[in-house]
């Protein structure tokens, strides 16, 4: 299977890209992802969570740490 080097490199790149995508979007926890975004100087999305299927949330509905009087 290794005799065709350009094909092997192409397939290797596709697999690496797929791994990077899965690692970034599924495996990495959101706080770590946001920290990496900040380190790279990229804006952190304000809305988090969701099922990668259009259902996204905002803040937790439980006790909040927002400012109070």
């Amino acid at each position: 299977m290794m005799e065709n080097l350009p094909e092997t490199i192409l397939v290797g790149l596709i697999v690496a890209a797929a791994f990077a995508w899965v690692a970034w979007t599924i495996l990495l926890p959101a706080p770590l992802r946001n920290r990496l975004r900040r380190l790279a100087g990229r804006p952190v999305p304000s809305q988090t969570g969701g099922c990668s299927g259009g259902c996204c949330g905002c803040e937790a509905a439980g006790p909040k740490r927002g400012k109070r009087c």
């Binding site: 299977m1 065709n4 094909e7 092997t8 192409l10 397939v11 596709i14 697999v15 797929a18 791994f19 995508w21 899965v22 979007t25 599924i26 959101a30 304000s46 969570g49 969701g50 099922c51 990668s52 299927g53 259009g54 259902c55 949330g57 905002c58 803040e59 937790a60 509905a61 439980g62 006790p63 909040k64 740490r65 927002g66 400012k67 109070r68 009087c69």
Partner: protein, 640 residues
Amino acid sequence: MSDTVLSTPAFTGVPPRIALVGNPNCGKTALFNALTGARQKVANYPGVTVERKIGEFLSPAGTRVQLVDLPGTYSLRARSPDEEVTRDVVLGRFQHEAPPDVMVCVADATNLRLHLRLVLELKKLGRPIILALNMMDVAEARGCRVDAAALSAALGVPVVPTVAIKRTGVAGLLDQIDRSMIAMTAALPPSSGTSSCGWSEPSALDLRAYHQEVETILAAALRDAGQPSLATSRIDAALLHPAIGLPFLFLVLFLMFQAVFAWAAVPMDMIDKGLGWVQAGAGAALPDGLLKSLLTDGIIAGVGSVMIFLPQILVLFFFILMLESTGYMARAAFLLDRLMGGVGLHGRAFIPLLSSFACAVPGIMAARTIENRADRLATIMIAPLMTCSARLPVYTLIIAAFVPDRTVAGGMIGLQGLVMFTLYAAGILSALAAAFVLKRTIFKGAREPLLMELPSYRLPSPRDILLGLLERARIFLARAGTVIFSIMILLWFLGSFPAAPDGATGPAIDYSFAGMLGHALAPLLAPIGFTWQIAIALVPGMAAREVAVAALGTVYALSETGDALSGSLAGVLAADWSLPTALSLLAWFVFAPQCVSTLSVVKRETNSWFWMLVMIVYMTALAYGAAFVTFHLSTALLGG
């Protein structure tokens, strides 16, 4: 609207924020969509929006405005988490967020007596308010006549009549927004008025005073109260009848699952043939090698195995959208209140549980409408037991492989649809049983009565139904093209490397990383009848349940039975699995441990890792136990 952005002096750099506030089911999200061009979900029952949603639009004067759509509430005296979101946004309690500069209070023109109380409460905050008098078409049809000018004079706020779902009155509302912002910049700096610190919860005395004030305002502005919808009363007399109501509801659900199979058969067959053609074409066009194997065995076999189920997903959502837009969904909650009460659940739990038929994530979030924390937690813990649409491909695949496509009961009922209905019923019954146990052990407490506004019946808007279906198709295809596509490439890699050693006799995948993982997990899953191929599929299935189907497609394409896959995956499974194994896998997926997204939203909504872990443990135990019993019982009865 203009394409250019003109800055308004008071808001230079920061777009002014406008919040849509109002009672539940008055058309806030429809107005949000009309103003921003967004496609947020609208439906005809209270509690659709449980989080704030943010959009932007350009006003006629060229000001870029940020619009915040909020969950419905009857008062700022919030009692449930979704109402707390509204209260906290209005009062500017969220961190790093200013309170809204202008509030557009949306009121149902057919029920002003109830809706104006909130307007009066919001007026106390001292911030600019515009009243959008929505559903004017329904009000006029009922003979209800509201004098908008008199109402504006009595309330002391601008009033704009609108019909949000038809985009009527939106231009007038936009003009009024511009006028209010100009008046505000002239009068006071933005974001002034009462903030969180100057606000106190209205007392019972305050609420009574609001009620009296509303009566005075209505006396001045309501020329004719009109008549309640006669059609709604007549339909409810039949559909909420103690003897007819529940059987009719179950009939609707039963027909829905029959249609999922019957209506989707032709388009599924077409997609199947199309994918077979693409797979054959790719196989013929490419020389043997890694790229061909990746494309045919990995991507097309894997992603294609899931794509085929798009028509069934759309048929299911067609029914759900129809039920939601007509107003029948709220009736279903009412009908099932006694049943829910029997297991200790709050009547409002019905909407979150029904939303979970689509996806457990919005279902769990919809539990925000439940005031009591114990009831809310109980609902969250059982919501993933309802059969989400991601399970549909798994069920369909196994049913197609093991249940003959024939009719029973004299040709009236399709057997495959009947089995699907049974699986959905098993999900519902197991959720109720889990609730029964949870409410008598961990979440003890008195049951609160269900108080819910029943909306008038409405004819579904074909445009909204079509947009809803397009949105579901987009979500499904986006997931197939991103999550499933990427995971299948990785699974192909793990199933192809390392290559089989020279002189190996078994299929190459046996010697790969995936094969090693499958064989390592096999002893753990052997007592419930699962093969090592199923063990491999369950791992990526944690990302999303339908990925398990795609993974089976890839695994079998890479295994010795791969040649048969060009026919259908169902055929391969029918040849490779025993019936008890198939039944065991169905039982597993009824209780299946949740996908990662569900677990993360449970953690977020409960603000606790504990409840997420409890969910993983109890659902895994249920799934394993159910699969174990099913496998051994069916082996004893049917033979292996």
